[in-house]
Amino acid sequence: MNIVVCVKQVPDTEALIKVKADGSGIDEGGIKWVMNPYDEFGVEEALKLKEKNGGDVTIVSVGPARALETIRTALAMGAEKGIHINDPALEGADAYTTASALAAAIKEIPHDIVFCGMRAIDDDAGQVGSILAELLGIPQVTVVTKLEVADGKATAVKAIEGAQLVIETSLPCVITAAKGLNEPRYASLPGIMKAKKKPVDVKDAAALGISVAAKAKIVKMMPPPERAPGKIVGGEEAAEKAAQLVKLLREEAKVI
């Protein structure tokens, strides 16, 4: 079974994000980079499938030189090889361009199943997986919390509001992973040592033959407004305080 996992390198959830003074992006100084947590679920699921059915796991990532660390982490977890799509023109690429790059790379290799995270925690768009499936012309199941693959079919559980859908699809397909799918393993020390020797192909946009003309552009980034200090509701009696609170909620906060 040939399994492909798309991974993105993102700032650690704990990282203190500072927007650059000119609003063109975030200040990358001092940031710790990690694998997008939803992609970790994808890697883990791929490794479990491989361990059960045999085959190969290929990691694909679009990103600058540092993204190689994230590919290596997935290799240390147990994947076989990597494709690193590194092109300055793809820096800050929109979801469509990123998906085109991934699709171009994945088309060239055998793929029975392709995993993505349901979204990346940096820009939270949640589009790449779906666009990728369209570009590859294969079915997709998104936000998957449980997966079974047997007899050339995938059966996936997808949570929707108040219910669960059980969706069956033919292979190949794209699955986007959600929390709950599995518990990602930690890269082992022997895994780390082996990862160094595993092959990683580096490709740029020209090699993939894709257009890098963005469909969407980030005009400006701004930090969220600073939160105003809290207010303590005065008054002697509970009833008085409640009345005061309702008044504030209505007139100041305008939430009721």
């Binding site: 650690d12 704990e14 990282a15 203190l16 500072k18 200040d27 100084g29 001092g30 710790k32 660390e69 290596r72 982490t73 240390a76 930690y186 890269a187 082992s188 020390l189 022997p190 780390i192 040592m193 990862a195 160094k196």
Partner: protein, 620 residues
């Protein structure tokens, strides 16, 4: 953003910029390593420490190790993390691939060990002792013993311990009474009681292999008559499967001030005359062999003290930025002055500065010792191997005692930073302080470490070991004196160095002039000035490097005035870090090093008042 355990930037500074792990990459043993591999090792260890081990800190303390119906249990929350830790290969990381390891440089093992111990020191006792015990079998065991015990121990399937202490034999191991009686098949019947045995009994592994010190019947008293035996809790059949219990009975576990998650057991060997042990190495070689494990354990214990202090410090800094209390003392009587986060108050800042400087000093000490072990093992030059091996000898008692002494003080100051809240169990610093305390006591009390330093290590190799360490220090002094911005601090290091360097001769003089008590009772003060000298040395060496990097950052950013530089550091984490390194070294040189000379004068005066005072005069 801090992980609240260890400053990983300082780790990388030591590893890459100051001590220079790339020197190790040149040795065959470490040929598979490179900076990107080291980066990944550090980040995976951090992940395991933060996500898997740290969550067991409080729960493991509350639940504690338990003793029920003759069996001891580790806190239940340790089970899964222990498996994950072993599966990821951390237990035997530094061993050769043939036994399941990855030849991880000891310097790097020190760094990852710091992360793990900062996350939960009690937890790390179980794999730590297992590693040490397995290593004894690796170096001294027969092929059969290795096949039977070692691989499973390195894999974390079976646990390990070190069994020295007995009720009547603590600091004085030679007084032990556990005996070994020859059996016809060449094995031995072991009888005796060991107490305070860490990981002596627990349910994390299905078997536990005890290296036990005992005296073969008829062998001479004292340490020279001691042999060491491999004694499994459950006997192992020839095919590797588990057989009968081996008459190793757990009497109880201790109820302790700290490291409550670590089971400290009393073990009764051969109560029913049915405990069988296999000799490890030669007869009467027990002390020599066990010293291999003790040296490793001493460095681990020093690192524990430093690691817990690191977690306490990181928490204290974070707290001091959040806790708002009191307006600035500099605001005078202005009633409208606002209360500030306590980090703004000079006395709080001073505590934090003291903690930071010592923490970075002892961290450097431990990492440098790890590096020295690597060079002493792997260098192709015999001269270099010997030189660095000598450093390890000298450094071991200092790393153990000085890191744990300063570690406990750092934890105590962290509690002071928290004020009354620090004393309460809602905040972790009270646990850090409780856990850290044992590092001064076990694995040879710090008094015993000091005696080891002056009694054995100073004169070792004809005094050459200490001399070549002193040469390193004077080389740094000469170099740093060239730097205008650090010159006055280098002068303070030089003064401290000159004073300490006179002490070894003085000790010999005391002995020759019939005043050995003056040497013995000054062992601890000597270890303390050595510790300060070494920290001062390593901090200044670091500042020298940091200054160069900082200058480059300023130059690139065009920050040519103090104001611009300050503003830059606000937004540039690298500049802020290097500023911090330089401040640590300057503070240490200004505040600590000048005390060294006076303390050396006190030692030289040779007063022995504590020895002369009559016992009856101590207490009424």
């Amino acid at each position: 953003m801090s992980n609240l355990l260890v400053n990983t930037r300082d780790q990388k500074f030591l590893i890459y910029e100051q001590i220079g792990i790339e020197k190790l990459f040149a040795f065959d043993r470490f040929a598979d390593y490179s900076q990107d591999v080291v980066d990944m090792v550090l980040s995976e260890a951090e992940k395991m420490a933060v996500e898997v081990i740290a969550p067991t800190l409080e729960e493991g303390d509350k639940e504690g190790a338990q003793f029920k119906d003759g069996k001891a249990y580790a806190p239940s929350c340790y089970q899964e993390p222990f498996k994950k830790y072993c599966e990821a290969g951390w237990l035997c990381a530094s061993e050769e691939p043939e036994v399941g390891g990855q030849n991880l440089p000891v310097m790097l093992r020190t760094a990852v060990g710091e992360l793990f111990a900062a996350a939960n020191m009690s937890f790390t006792m179980y794999p730590g002792l297992t590693h040490g015990a397995a290593n004894l079998v690796k170096v001294h065991g027969t092929e059969e013993q290795k096949n039977k015990y070692m691989y499973k121990m390195f894999a974390g399937e079976w646990g390990g311990t070190m069994c020295l202490t007995e009720p009547g034999a603590g600091s004085d191991v030679g007084a032990l009474r556990t005996s070994a009686k020859r059996l016809p098949d060449g094995r031995f019947s072991i009888t005796g009681t060991k107490c305070f045995i860490s990981s002596g009994d627990h349910d994390l592994t299905e078997n536990i292999v005890h290296p036990v010190l005992a005296r073969i019947e008829g062998d001479p008293p004292g340490t020279k008559g001691i042999s060491i035996f491999v004694v499994p809790k459950i006997r192992v059949n020839d095919d590797g499967s588990l057989g009968e219990p081996n008459d190793v009975v757990t009497g109880n576990i201790e109820h302790k001030m700290g490291i409550k998650g670590s089971a400290t057991a009393t073990l009764n060997f051969g109560e029913n005359g049915n405990c069988i042990g296999e000799l490890l190495g030669g007869e009467r070689e027990g002390m020599k062999i066990m010293f291999q494990m003790m040296n490793e354990a001493r460095l681990d214990v020093g690192l524990q003290g430093q690691a817990v202090a690191s977690a306490a410090f990181e928490h204290a800094v974070a707290y001091s930025k959040e806790r708002i209390q009191s307006k600035s003392a500099l605001a005078g009587k202005d009633p409208n002055a606002e209360a500030l986060p306590i980090i703004n108050h000079p006395p709080v800042r001073r505590m934090l500065m003291w903690m930071k400087a010592y923490l970075e000093g002892i961290r450097a000490l431990n990492y440098f010792t790890g590096f020295s072990i690597d060079v002493s093992h792997a260098s192709s030059s015999e001269e270099e191997r010997n030189k660095y091996g000598g450093y390890v000898e000298i450094m071991t008692p200092i790393c153990k005692a000085f890191s744990s002494d300063r570690g406990v003080e750092i934890c105590s100051k962290a509690m002071d930073v928290y004020g009354g809240y620090g004393f309460c169990q809602e905040y972790p610093v009270e646990q850090y302080m409780r856990d850290c305390k044992i590092t001064q006591i076990y694995e040879g009390t710090n008094q015993i470490q000091a005696l080891d330093l002056i009694g054995r290590k100073l004169g070792q190799n004809g005094g050459m070991n200490i001399m070549s360490l002193f040469e390193e220090i004077s080389a740094t002094i000469s170099r740093v004196k060239e730097r205008e911005n650090l010159r006055s601090y280098a002068a303070k290091l030089e003064e401290a160095y000159n004073s300490v360097a006179e002490l070894p001769m003085k000790f010999i003089e005391f002995f020759k002039s019939g005043k050995p008590a003056a040497t013995i009772q000054n062992a601890e003060p000597f270890l303390a000035v050595m510790g300060d000298l070494l920290c001062g040395w390593l901090l200044l060496q670091g500042a020298d490097i940091a200054l160069e990097k900082l200058d480059a950052i300023y130059k690139e950013a065009g920050a040519d005035t103090v104001e611009k530089q300050k503003a830059l550091a606000e937004n540039n984490t690298e500049a802020a870090f290097y500023e911090g390194k330089i401040a640590s070294a300057k503070f240490f040189a200004s505040e600590i090093l000048p005390t060294v000379r006076t303390r050396c004068e006190i030692v030289k005066a040779g007063e022995i008042i504590p020895v002369e005072i009559a016992e009856v005069s101590f207490a009424y």
